[in-house]
Amino acid sequence: MEQVLRQTWAFLFRDLHLTRRYMSWVIVFTFYAIVNTATIALIGVALGDRRLTLMLILGALLWNFLSVLFSEIANSITYERWEGTLEYTFMAPVSRLTHLAGVSMFVVFYSVVRTAIIIAALMLFIDLDLSRANVGGILVVLAVSSVAFIGLGLMAAVLPVFSPERGAEATNIFQGILLLVSGVYYPIEVLPRWLQPLSYISPATYALSACRKLMGIGQGAAEPVQTAGAPLSEVTHELLVLALMGAVMIPLGLYVFALVEGWAKRTGKLKRTG
């Protein structure tokens, strides 16, 4: 057990120090995320629409959190291939579960800190009144949806094993599709009919739906603005779907990862230039 804890800590230790060494880039990306969130939120302010403003802020914050979670896990193998350290990680006596758990833990920590900074900075632009929101409930939804997104990230993380560049490109396209179909800034009903089925398999759709209810802003303009956020019991359906997605996607992600790792070891694709 002690050995597993040390091995998990190895990935946290590495990623903490890498973040520290690349701090200027972390600041740049966070600055961009703050500006991006603020400009999106100010659209609602300009229209004088409180519900729209809250919906846009929620969408931007949730997307910031979940997309960082997804992309950092998905790119964890890309980074190792760029550095040339992938073979050394794969020949260490570490189970893939411990490896990916360590990577995911740091990413969750990083995403939470980054989102908290964005929220704090947003207060400088907008009078953000969250007193009526069910903040505790939102945190529960975020925790449950994180598991599903980690599973998605694990599946995407294998793409760079096939090809470092193509893998990173495919990850970005996949992330873009998630952004489009999940109704981050709009209700999914406004999507073309042929695209809507995709929104039902994105965990972000359910996370957004639940958070909107918990914020008291409902799903669209047709619904009246609530005076208070809904209790957690009103988002049971979304929580169950998210939990189910997580329960399927994490083992599926690990399984896909193991399959591709085996394939890479048969074909010699672990090499830096492979």
Partner: protein, 273 residues
Amino acid sequence: MSNTGIQVSHLQKFFRKRKGFLRSRSTEVHALKDISFEVAEGETYGLLGPNGSGKSTLIRVLATLLVPDAGEVRLLGHRIPGEEQAVRRKIGRVSVDAAFYKKLSARENLLYSALLYGMDAKSAERRAMEILEELGLEQEKFTDPLEEMSRGMQQKVAITRALLINPPLLLLDEPTTGLDPKSKRDVQTFLERLRSEHGTTILLTSHDMAETERLCARIGFIAQGSLIAEGTADELKRQSNAASLDDAFIALAGVALDENGKSANGNGASEKK
């Protein structure tokens, strides 16, 4: 032979390469052709061969990074394929390119590696300092980012990484390529001491005849994926009536060590279409 450190039996490895998109053509490269050899526990065994001869592929199979297509490997009694996790606990590997997180310091890279093997950070740090000192790296360099170090210094950190876990078996893939003469000597002296004091089994691949002759009790010649001869340096020279190991290699392999895996008659015989 005493207890066996490495036992390689009829090892085969193929790679398939695909070229083209619409009319794709597949080429098969026979990277390892029925390789068999044994290394006793505590012995240093050298593999000499030109670029593309299969040395690194063989090391990767032994390091559990490649799955063989046929044959079997036993490392300190553990079988590959089958007991990879047990093997990983017992091997250290140094490759020709010192693969590190270049922005991280030597300390951070080494501690990360030690933690991956479940070591306690404090004792790992102490041991890392001892090894680096023996290899002749100044202590102040310990906290410098790897990207600010010379190739020789980086390679010393790479060797330290492999030795941190006290592995009974070391796989060294051209560990001194590109090092200056002083660094080369430091590393060679250290490896000699490691074998004599700790009884570490070492498999060393190299292009460097003098280094191989100095460090290795026995040497195998590898060319185009085949092990074509093995023995002590003197046996190999006698076998080919050659004055030097270099000449012995040319006589037995039909190829010079600085050529890229092509035989003297110009055939790249390992590729099938």
